[in-house]
C-alpha cells in the first residue's frame, strides 16, 4: 500500500510536466533530418559533408542520425525525427529493402523523404531518389579496362569484387561489368571470378586472398567500390602484382566511386580507370528537390533523379580529372 502511495504521488507530479510539455511549439526554422547508415567510406563521408554543409549554409537546421549499419535502429531514428516535427528527411538507407519500409513510414506521417544514392528496392513508396546510373558508369570503366587488356594481345583472367547484392547499386555495378564481359567473349581466359565483399573491408580481404590463392592468374580486377583499393593493395603487393600500368606484372585495375584514394592511384599510375559518381551534383539535386517539396507543401514528393556519371581513365585524366569529386579533394590535401 505504501509503495502504491509513493507511486501515485510521483505520477501526480508528472501530470503538470506532461501538460506543460505536450503543447509546446517548435521553432519555425526549416529542419531537415539527415539519417545515414554509416560513414564507412570516403564517398559517404564526402556526401555527408556536402549535404550538411550546404543545408547549414542555407540557414537550415540539420539533425543528423547515424544508424551504425542497423536497419532497425534507422527505422527507430526516422520515427524519432518525425516526432520532432522535421520538415524533411534525407536518408542513406542500409539497403534497398529497408529504404522502402522507412519511406512508407515517412509517407504515412506526411514528411517528404529523399533517398540518397542507394535506391529503394521498389517504387511502392513515394520518395525523392537521387541515384547514379551504376550500370552505365561501371560499364564505361570496365570498357576502358577491356581496351587495355586487348593491347596485351592475349587472354586475361577477369575478376570482380561484388558489393552487397541487397544494394541495387551493387547489382547495377555488377551488371555493368558483366555487360563488358559479354561484349568481348574472346578476351577472357575463363568466366569471371566473383568475389563477395558485402561492402565490408574485412570480408573483402578474406575473400580476395582466397580468390588470389585459388586463381593466381587473375590479372583483370574490378572492384565495385573504390574504398576497397587499400584491401586490394594489401593482397596484391606481397604477390608482386601491385605495380604501375605498363609493368608486365600489372593487374588491370578498375573501380567505382571516384574517391580520393582512386584519384591518388590514378595520379600515381596504379589504377587504370574508375567510374565516377558526381557526388556534388547528386547532393545539389537532392537538396533542390527537397527544398522545393518543403516550399510547395508537397508531403509525398515522388521523383527519381539520375546522375549519368562518367569514367575517369588514364586516357582522359588530363581533361576530365577536375570533374571528379575525389580528385578535387585529393588536390586540396
Amino acid at each position: 500500500m505504501k509503495k502504491l502511495t509513493v507511486l501515485c504521488i510521483v505520477l501526480v507530479l508528472l501530470v503538470p510536466s506532461l501538460l506543460f510539455s505536450a503543447g509546446a511549439k517548435e521553432s519555425d526554422q526549416i529542419t531537415i533530418a539527415f539519417c545515414f547508415q554509416d560513414l564507412e567510406t570516403e564517398f559517404w563521408v564526402a556526401g555527408h559533408k556536402a549535404i550538411t554543409e550546404e543545408l547549414r549554409e542555407q540557414g537550415i537546421r540539420v539533425i543528423e542520425k547515424n544508424a551504425n549499419e542497423d536497419a532497425n535502429r534507422q527505422l527507430e531514428q526516422v520515427r524519432d525525427v518525425i516526432t520532432q516535427g522535421v520538415d524533411g528527411i534525407i536518408l542513406i538507407p542500409q539497403d534497398g529493402e529497408s529504404a522502402v519500409t522507412i519511406a512508407k513510414t515517412a509517407n504515412e506521417a506526411g514528411v517528404p523523404i529523399g533517398i540518397f544514392n542507394r535506391p529503394p528496392a521498389d517504387r511502392s513508396a513515394k520518395n525523392l531518389v537521387v541515384v547514379a546510373n551504376n550500370e552505365v558508369i561501371a560499364e564505361a570503366a570496365v570498357e576502358h579496362m577491356a581496351q587495355e587488356a586487348m593491347k596485351l594481345g592475349r587472354k586475361v583472367y577477369p575478376a570482380i569484387m561484388v558489393g552487397d547484392l541487397g544494394d541495387p547499386n551493387a547489382v547495377g555495378r555488377r551488371q555493368g561489368f558483366m555487360n563488358v564481359i559479354a561484349k568481348y567473349p574472346d578476351l577472357w581466359a575463363h568466366p569471371p571470378i566473383e568475389i563477395p565483399t558485402k561492402w565490408d573491408a574485412n570480408v573483402a580481404l578474406a575473400n580476395l586472398q582466397s580468390a588470389m590463392q585459388a586463381n593466381p592468374n587473375i590479372d583483370f580486377l574490378f572492384t565495385s567500390s573504390d574504398f576497397l583499393f587499400p584491401v586490394i593493395r594489401s593482397v596484391l603487393a606481397p604477390l608482386g602484382k601491385w605495380v604501375k600500368t605498363g609493368d608486365p606484372n600489372h593487374v588491370i585495375l578498375g573501380g567505382l566511386d571516384g574517391d580520393v584514394t582512386a584519384a591518388r592511384l590514378l595520379d600515381e599510375g596504379y589504377l587504370d580507370a574508375t567510374g565516377v559518381q558526381n557526388l556534388f551534383y547528386e547532393a545539389d539535386l537532392m537538396m533542390e528537390a527537397m527544398l522545393e517539396a518543403i516550399r510547395t507543401g508537397d508531403k509525398t514528393p515522388d521523383k527519381w533523379m539520375e546522375d549519368p556519371g562518367f569514367a575517369l581513365t588514364q586516357a582522359n585524366l588530363d581533361t576530365h580529372a577536375q570533374d571528379m569529386w575525389g580528385w578535387v579533394l585529393y588536390k586540396e590535401m
Partner: protein, 370 residues
C-alpha cells in the same frame, strides 16, 4: 556465468532472490532503502522523465509515446527470455542469431514472392524458394505455420544451448557464443545475405498500431510478460530456476532437476528471441539475416539496469520491465536531444556500468543487513 558449485546459501530464500528491501530485519536509512527498493529503477525512470520533460517538449507527444512503446515491446520480450537464463547464472549470447534465423526461416515459409536475381544463388532456391514465393506462399496456412516454425527455431537452438550447458557442463558463454556465430552465419548463408520481403499483410499488421498504442506487439509482449511472471513467481519451475541460479549442485542434491531446468531456461530464452523476431521483422516488413545483430548489449543492458544479477539467483519480470523501460526512455531521450550516435552509445554504456556497480552495492548492503 556457469552452473558449477558456488559458496552461496543453497536454500531458496524468496526475500533474497526477489530483492525486496521491505522485508529486511534491520531498517536501513532512507538512501539505502531507496537503493534497495525493487522499484528503484522505476523511481529513477520517473525522475528522469520529470527532469527531461521541460527540456524535450515533444517527449510526451502522442507519436513519441507510440515510438517508445513500439521500441519497447520487442526488446522487452527478448529481454525476458534473457532473464530466465540470467537467473540460473547463465547468459545467452545466441539470442541475436535466434532472431536472425527465425526471421529468415519464417520469411522462407511465408513470403509471397522473391526476386530471382537476388536469390538464385541461395541454397534454398528451387527447394524452399521460387519466384512464386516461399513454401506456403499465398496459402492460408502461411501465417500460422510460419510463426510456429519461427518459434520452433528458437526452441531448437535454445535446446542445443541448454543441453550443452547442462549435460556437457560447458560454460554458457562459450556455448552461446558458438551458437551465435554458427546460426548468424547460417542465416547469412541461407539467404546469401539478402532480405526476404513480401510477407503476408496479416503478419505485417502485428506491429502496426490499431488504436493509438494498441497493437499486436503490445498484446503479445504483455502476454509473454504475464506468463513469464507467473512462471517465475507462482510455479515450482520458477523456484527451481532460482535454486539452480544460487547453487546448481546444491539444488540438484536437494532434488531439483537442475539439468532439465537449465535446458528449459535456455529454450524459453530462445523462444522469447523468436517472438521478438516476429515483432521486429513484422515492423521492418522483411526477414533479415542480420536482424538483431546489434542489440545484444541492449538486451543484457536492460536486464542489468533492471537489477537482474549476472551472478544468478536474482531477478523478476517486473525488474526486466523497469530496466527495458528505462533503457528505451534513455535511448529515445538521447535521440530527441539530437546527440551524436557515439555520444548516445557512450551514455548507454556508462549507464549499464553504473547499473552493474549499483548491483554490487545492493548485494553488499544486503549481505551486511543479514
Amino acid at each position: 556465468m556457469n552452473t558449477t558449485p558456488k559458496k552461496k546459501k543453497p536454500v531458496v530464500d524468496d526475500t533474497q532472490h526477489q530483492g525486496s528491501g521491505d522485508s529486511l530485519a534491520v531498517q536501513p536509512n532512507l538512501g539505502k532503502r531507496i537503493l534497495m527498493s525493487e522499484y528503484f529503477v522505476l523511481y529513477l525512470t520517473i525522475l528522469y522523465i520529470i527532469v527531461l520533460t521541460p527540456i524535450i517538449p515533444r517527449l510526451w507527444h502522442p507519436m513519441n509515446i507510440q515510438n517508445i512503446l513500439s521500441n519497447l515491446w520487442p526488446l522487452l520480450v527478448v529481454a525476458i527470455g534473457q532473464t530466465f537464463v540470467l537467473i540460473i547464472a547463465g547468459i545467452d549470447l545466441s539470442q541475436t542469431s535466434v532472431m536472425a534465423m527465425s526471421s529468415v526461416v519464417g520469411a522462407v515459409v511465408m513470403t509471397r514472392s522473391v526476386d530471382p536475381i537476388l536469390f538464385t544463388k541461395s541454397p534454398l532456391w528451387g527447394v524452399f524458394l521460387s519466384e512464386q514465393g516461399g513454401l506456403l506462399s499465398n496459402s492460408i496456412f502461411a501465417l500460422p505455420v510460419g510463426i510456429v516454425v519461427m518459434l520452433l527455431v528458437g526452441l531448437f537452438i535454445g535446446f542445443l544451448n541448454g543441453f550443452s550447458v547442462a549435460y556437457f557442463r560447458m560454460p554458457p558463454f562459450i556455448v552461446t557464443l558458438v551458437s551465435m556465430m554458427l546460426f548468424s552465419a547460417m542465416a547469412i548463408f541461407l539467404t546469401k545475405s539478402e532480405n526476404i520481403r513480401h510477407l503476408p499483410e496479416a503478419y505485417l499488421e502485428i506491429s502496426k498500431n490499431q488504436f493509438f498504442v494498441v497493437s499486436g506487439s503490445l498484446i503479445i509482449a504483455i502476454f509473454v510478460m504475464v506468463l513469464a511472471h507467473i512462471l517465475l513467481s507462482r510455479t515450482l519451475f520458477g523456484k527451481r530456476l532460482y535454486a539452480v541460479g544460487i547453487n546448481a549442485t546444491a539444488s540438484q542434491i536437494s532434488g531439483v532437476p537442475a539439468r532439465r531446468t537449465t535446458i528449459t531456461a535456455y529454450m524459453l530464452s530462445g523462444m522469447c528471441a523468436s517472438i521478438a523476431a516476429i515483432l521486429y521483422s513484422s515492423r521492418l516488413e522483411m526477414g533479415r539475416p542480420t536482424l538483431g545483430s546489434t542489440i545484444f548489449i541492449d538486451i543484457v543492458g536492460a536486464n542489468i539496469i533492471g537489477g537482474i544479477s549476472l551472478a544468478g539467483g536474482k531477478g523478476k519480470v517486473t525488474w526486466t520491465l523497469f530496466g527495458v523501460f528505462f533503457f528505451i526512455i534513455l535511448a529515445n531521450s538521447l535521440n530527441m536531444l539530437n546527440l551524436s550516435f557515439y555520444i548516445i552509445d557512450m551514455v548507454k554504456g556508462s549507464v549499464i556500468l553504473v547499473a552493474a556497480l549499483l548491483d554490487v552495492a545492493r548485494n553488499r548492503i544486503s549481505r551486511e543487513q543479514m
